[in-house]
């Protein structure tokens, strides 16, 4: 087997049995592998071809197996033996899959309801039927080998990211396919949470603990997904998700394919979209043109013998592209707005936006999404924030971070920690806060959707000598022009007598898993204070 060869096996086997774990982002369009350096930084690994976004494509020419970028280039000449856009077929019945994106590559066939491919994988005419599970195993083997080669250790386990709508059957199929690749799946985690972890890794534990609602829009090749993640004390709860399976980078490639085809027709009276190979060539090249337009204001395209023997050379500027792509951009913006609505939140409740996935490199998409929010809300994308991480790398980085966190856990520890007995928790329906200021406004101390048990501590200034009141309330949201929260339900009151001007009152609110409250208020550095308990509502059993 030559092809683009798998990295050579390690010269000497590892003597110690230390685990080597990585993070894998497994997408329909691309996959990436990442590891965590000894000082805790996640880094995405380039494969032997130098790619960090490795096309999720496998191709066979005779007995040679090609993977990644090389396999992708085979979509032009060897489409029938090239498998692409297959991730979403895994773990599904044939009747459940949407093969739209397979029309220009090996088309899935129904083998006992398992999506499979008829491929020529030998030097003779023999056709073998390869199941989606086997394709996935081959893909994971290639990713694992690239990572092992880079790290100089055999990779033993991985955390893999999947979309939030991945079913249990799909997860199970993924674990089985990985096992066949001699790769232990330590944990399967959700893509938007991986993106949040990638950003959180740059923060101190205190910064991570700041409560906020994060909108994550994952804009890929074949699909776009969005999620609202409540970050509370550094723990994450997905409040809502939304998906569009017909939206993504491929749609933007199509916009450019149409644009260039019209130009070609004008010149040569031939439509490159009508010939399979011409179309494949044009698609491959326009994707590069599209990427160039993310960085510069114009881009060129140059294809030899595109159709009817004519070469094609052209230039497109960004403005023109953005006009043609407006409809796709509109749909992406709606997806983002929809998911916030599904979470029963207002756009003003979003404290941070993370744009993930390759299509998030598109400047106009980032600026359109940023326009939905006040300027104070960071929109993490290359075009809107200089400090943004590479959106194509977030899933893999997040997976690598999680992998390093649980690397030393044994299987039982991981199973227990991910069990519903531990993960399912009561979340506050309303924020809990304290009444402050002359105008009796509501200061949130615990945000709604905080999982309990939870504890928060807040410090208030004492303005003048005298007695003050700590009035603990539940708040209800009332959005006028700006976000305001108003108290509705007074839970408890504590009197602080004899506070001194310039002092500080520290209030600790402890909410138990039964929703019982323990409240302590005291003047910092003194014995002055009050504490008490609020019993949970008696359960009518």
């Amino acid at each position: 087997m030559s092809g683009n060869p798998s990295p050579s096996p390690q010269a000497s086997p590892d003597l110690d049995d230390t685990k080597t774990v990585i993070g894998i982002a497994f997408g329909n369009t691309t996959s990436s592998i990442a590891y965590t350096t000894p000082d805790g930084k996640a880094e995405v690994i380039a494969n032997e071809e130098g790619d960090r976004q490795i096309p999720s494509v496998l191709s066979w020419v005779g007995s040679e197996e090609y993977h990644g970028t090389q396999a992708k280039s085979h979509l032009v000449r060897n489409a029938k033996n090239t498998v692409a856009y297959f991730r979403d077929f895994l773990g599904k019945h044939y009747s459940e899959i949407d093969p739209t994106n397979s029309h220009n590559s090996a088309h899935p066939v129904d083998v006992d309801d398992v999506p499979s491919f008829n491929l020529q994988q030998a030097d003779n005419e023999t056709i073998s039927t390869v199941s989606i599970n086997e394709i996935t195993t081959r893909h994971l083997i290639r990713l694992k080998e690239s990572a092992s080669d880079f790290l100089g250790h055999k990779v033993t386990g991985a955390v893999i990211t999947v979309p939030t709508d991945f079913s249990d059957a799909q997860k199970k199929a993924l674990v089985t396919a990985a096992k066949a690749a001699e790769l232990e799946v330590l944990q399967i985690i959700h893509e938007p949470v991986a993106a949040v972890l990638a950003y959180a890794a740059r923060q101190t534990p205190e910064e991570q603990s700041i409560d906020k609602n994060i909108l994550v829009a994952d804009l890929g090749g074949t699909r776009c997904d969005a999620a609202v993640v409540a970050s509370r004390g550094g723990m994450y709860t997905i409040l809502a998700t939304a998906h569009d399976y017909e939206l993504g980078g491929l749609k933007l490639d199509e916009v450019l394919v149409d644009h260039f085809s019209k130009e070609f027709i004008k010149k040569h009276k031939a439509d490159p979209r009508e010939n399979e190979r011409s179309l494949a060539k044009l698609k491959l090249e326009t994707e590069g043109t599209k990427r160039t337009l993310s960085l510069g204001t114009s881009a060129t395209i140059s294809i030899e013998s595109l159709a009817d023997g004519y070469d094609f050379h052209s230039t497109v500027n960004r403005l023109r592209y953005e006009l043609s792509a407006k409809k796709v951009f509109d749909q992406i913006v709606s997806l983002a707005e929809n998911v916030v609505k599904k979470a029963e939140l207002d756009l003003l409740d979003i404290g941070e936006v993370i744009l993930s996935g390759g299509t998030s490199h598109t400047p106009k998409i980032a600026s359109r999404i940023a326009a939905l929010f006040p300027e104070s809300v960071p929109v993490n994308a290359p075009a809107t924030l200089a400090t943004a991480l590479n959106p194509s790398e977030l899933s893999a980085r997040g997976a690598a971070i999680q992998a390093s966190l649980i690397a030393e856990f044994d299987k039982e520890d991981i199973e227990q920690s991910t069990h519903p007995a531990v993960t399912v928790a009561p979340h506050l329906s309303y924020p809990i806060g304290v009444v402050i200021g002359e105008d009796n406004s509501f200061q949130t101390i615990l945000e709604a959707q905080t999982a309990v048990p939870a504890r928060r501590i807040a410090q208030f200034d004492v303005k003048a000598d005298g007695d003050v009141i700590v009035r603990i309330c539940e708040g209800i949201r009332e959005i006028v022009v700006e976000k305001v929260e108003r108290q509705v339900n007074v839970i408890a009151e504590a009197a602080i007598k004899g506070a001194k001007k310039g002092g500080k009152v520290e209030v600790t609110i402890n909410v138990g898993s039964d929703l019982g409250l323990n409240i302590a208020a005291r003047v910092v550095g003194t014995q002055i204070g009050a504490r008490g308990e609020v019993k949970p509502e008696a359960r009518s059993a």
Partner: protein, 62 residues
């Protein structure tokens, strides 16, 4: 756990505060909603550890 600094001050104790005690409980919290925490990140793993060993925050701090 670090405390959040809030620059505004607390209201003055009302004149008619006539409780013997410094603390009055008025009403329980509204019922909660059960949701799934994402089993990821260092803070969740600390939560899982507390839950599995039935430990409280303060015990965990020690």
């Amino acid at each position: 756990m670090a405390s959040v600094k809030i620059s505004k001050s607390l209201p003055t104790l009302p004149e008619d505060w006539n409780s013997e005690s410094n603390f009055v409980a008025h009403a329980p919290l509204s019922p909660a909603v059960h949701r799934n925490l994402s089993p990821t990140g260092p803070h969740f793993l600390a939560h899982a550890r507390r839950k599995r060993h039935s430990r409280t925050f303060s015990e965990d701090d020690r």
